[in-house]
Point group: C3
Chain length 160, copies 3
């Protein structure tokens, strides 16, 4: 039975969303590490089908709306990484605990929360109230591979 | 009995400080999430009585001293959020574990530690030795609503 | 017996690396806080024998190669701080859980992963598979004391 009473994969499909393969790390680390009931997910950038869907700073290179969609893609990639770490069973997630959201920002851009909501809203749509999380959203001068947004995450999961 | 042997609200009042209402999140997340004995607090910006007390980059828009005061306000807002999450009882805090401090910085500004000390010093004044924490303080090109500083926190709390 | 089956100090020496004294915090916080089996290490900058080995932004002031070496030094300083927190016994480390890596970046620099690998690779060389960690690597407009890179860390450690 799902920890949250929600079948997560069914919910994702019902929302018309698709979980692809978890992106491979672009460096020498791993996508996820579990310690006890805490599952740490590495920072994800908005890969979709092998390419970044948004590159550059908001709002000069990328609109807020496009950046928000990119943040949602990051959240999907977070879920794909979590699924791999949980032997395919996203229903073991009990709670979304924390997101760290970094938004590539032109100087003077101050609506990082609107962009980060792309990730937060997606997780609440998928998990309901157990998707509500603590969050830090900040601007960044530059992100890996020119990504517009990067999202890292912490989940509480059911013990083995 | 307080976990730290200190009555936290009394200490706050004794220092001449005021805990206001916890600021409402500016987006679709929650101010705090507890998992076991860990309490994660969302990034707080320097709201005081409904308005930001510092906006813009250090040192071009805001002096180090004003930014330090803003960081202290962020720490107060962290405590207000923690109080709400702990059913009003800050005495359940056992330890301040970690702060993440983001300082809106002009290029070449490198005294983020001095600014972040505004938050760190306040927590040590309130909690004494149990207020001493691990910390990451970094510069940010831009922060939500133009805030000069953002502080997120992790506490250890007594179990239910 | 080491938690990981590896004698960590011997491995460090065997790699030709040197753990110096843990740098003193440049502000009012502490280098490490342990809560249960989690050990949080404060952000470390690339001090070696009392001075920073890299200052300024990549790639304008510092090359990627030099920044990568600086990240490795940050990782060594993380280990020095962990050693102090573990009463000198790095063998109590069970797992490297997470790194947060901040790279001082010129606008348009997007190879933060290459720089962060300096820290990640060092930890994998020291710990083997238990050194593999979750990671967030992002660009920062400016870092404390002009450091080129800052690395914070989370370890799982054996209980007392």
């Amino acid at each position: 039975m799902p920890s949250t009473g929600i079948d997560v994969e069914a919910r994702i499909a019902g929302l018309g969303l698709t979980l692809g393969q978890a992106p491979r790390p672009v460096a020498s680390y791993v996508p996820a590490v579990r310690v006890g009931t805490l599952l740490f997910i590495s920072g994800q950038i908005p890969f979709r089908e092998g390419r970044l869907i948004a590159q550059g700073a908001v709002p000069t290179d990328v609109s807020i709306e496009s950046a928000k969609e990119a943040a949602a893609q990051c959240a999907l990639n977070v879920l794909a990484a979590a699924r791999d770490a949980l032997a395919g069973d996203l229903n073991r997630i009990r709670r979304v605990v924390r997101l760290g959201v970094f938004v590539c920002s032109a100087p003077g851009f101050t609506d990082q929360p609107a962009v980060a909501n792309g990730a937060s809203d997606l997780l609440v749509r998928v998990f309901g109230d157990t998707g509500r999380h603590a969050r830090a959203a900040v601007g960044s001068v530059a992100l890996p591979l020119g990504a517009t947004v990067e999202v890292e995450a912490l989940f509480e999961v059911a013990p083995d």
